[in-house]
């Protein structure tokens, strides 16, 4: 079977013979273009920053050392400064926490644009990934509005700055209950909320924003009345994730909607 898989992989990864020279041609064109640009720059200064990796100026090179001259020492210093800057830029452009890649898990896109609809208007948010190795989940949250605080057994996404009085807490809490199945846990949570909220709706089976159970509770009809939406989803083992969004009635179309879209980005990493 090893042989079979290897053969199959080799077969599936076949590519046209002319690709090698095609890519080499493109490479040479890129190298030539940048080197010509560098040579034409009389100041020999190399930008300390580069906006895009594709536009990175090459350290000025000389084929077969033909271009040695008196200014080489100065040029080398410039190259050293520039390459250090490029190295720093490359390093900083990598996903957080990776000088190379700590693991395949780190190949999650560290940030991505997420289009959401809030109060009838579409907007694009800057999603920041959080990959939780302990609980095996990942989520993108709006890094311009919220922060993710890692706590003891739970992570809380909340406003970057606390809301002033008298606004109630606005947060999205993620925690795992490794030994309780979603359906059972949803019942337990509904029972707990009965004592805390004026109204607790019947448990609802939902497929969006996550696939699981929803317990919706609200504590009155005032604009600052506390609202909670607790989603209980399978951890794809024998337990559950509890995703609790808390906000107030007036914020239902704002933070409430944003949490809904945040939950759309929630992913359980544990397989099977």
């Amino acid at each position: 079977m090893d042989r079979k898989l290897k053969d199959e992989l080799m077969k599936k990864s076949n590519y046209p013979d002319d690709w090698k020279e095609e890519i080499w041609g493109r490479l040479e064109a890129q190298l030539d273009r940048v080197e010509v640009d560098a040579t034409s720059d009389n100041t020999q200064s190399i930008p300390a920053e580069r906006p895009e990796p594709q536009e990175e100026p090459l350290p000025q090179r000389s084929n077969n050392n033909k271009n040695k001259h008196k200014g080489m020492r100065t040029l080398k210093i410039w190259i050293g400064v520039a390459t250090a800057a490029v190295a720093a830029t490359v390093f900083l452009s990598l996903p957080a926490g990776t000088a190379m890649m700590n693991s395949v898990k780190n190949w999650f896109v560290p940030e991505k644009k997420i289009e959401i609809e809030v109060e009838g208007h579409k907007e694009e948010t800057n999603g920041q990934v959080h990959v939780d190795d302990t609980s095996d989940y990942a989520i993108y949250y709006d890094k311009d509005r919220y922060k993710l605080v890692e706590g003891d057994g739970k992570d809380v996404i909340t406003t970057i700055d606390p809301l002033p009085e008298p606004y109630p807490e606005v947060s999205l809490t993620i925690e795992q209950k490794a030994d309780v199945l979603p359906e059972e846990l949803a019942k337990q949570i509904a029972g707990q909320l009965q004592g805390e909220y004026a109204r607790v709706d019947a448990i609802e089976r939902v497929t969006a924003p996550v696939d699981g159970y929803l317990v919706h509770a609200i504590d009155g009809s005032d604009r600052l009345s506390e609202v909670t939406n607790v989603y209980v989803v399978s951890n794809k083992k024998q337990g559950s994730f509890v995703l609790s969004g808390r906000y107030f009635l007036e914020a239902a179309e704002g933070h409430g909607a944003r949490f809904y879209h945040t939950l759309e980005q929630f992913e359980v990493l544990a397989d099977e």
């Binding site: 390459t83 890649m101 990493l269």
Partner: protein
Amino acid sequence: MEKEIISRIVQGDRGAFRTLYDEYFDYAMRTAMLVTKNGEWAKDAVQETFLRVYRNCWQYDASKPFKPWFYCILLRECYRVMEREKKVVPFGEQLERIAVEPDLPDDRVDVYEAMQSLNDIYRIPLLLKYVHDYSEKEIADMLELNVNTLKSRLFKAREKMRDRLGGEPHGSEA
């Protein structure tokens, strides 16, 4: 040999760069084809990989093996291209895309599809092992994993493959 080639590339020797290109192109192309599952994306990833190698080879630590350094760049470029093409999806979604029913009989499940349907944490190590015959130590270095972690993933990967191929034992033990 690689160290000498790298040293010459650092000096701007385009011929040395071509030698390195000849040496690594096939494996790079095959890896990129399998990781991105798209020919055009694979070409872009390979091109950008060699460009980065040329530009950044001065950063390569000659006291360490070259292959892990090269493949780290390659794999990152594959994901960069996939991200650009909006094809990077969270692992959970990748799992959901596994369409292979685990109890299908072996002759109906393509071994390639079964492997490609695995979560990346299992798929990439398998790919590196079977396409390139890398040792577990080499793969662990490339992925910056503990060797035991890698062995565990390879073992689980084979178990999953076996499940998806209808229970037929697949591959040797790690």
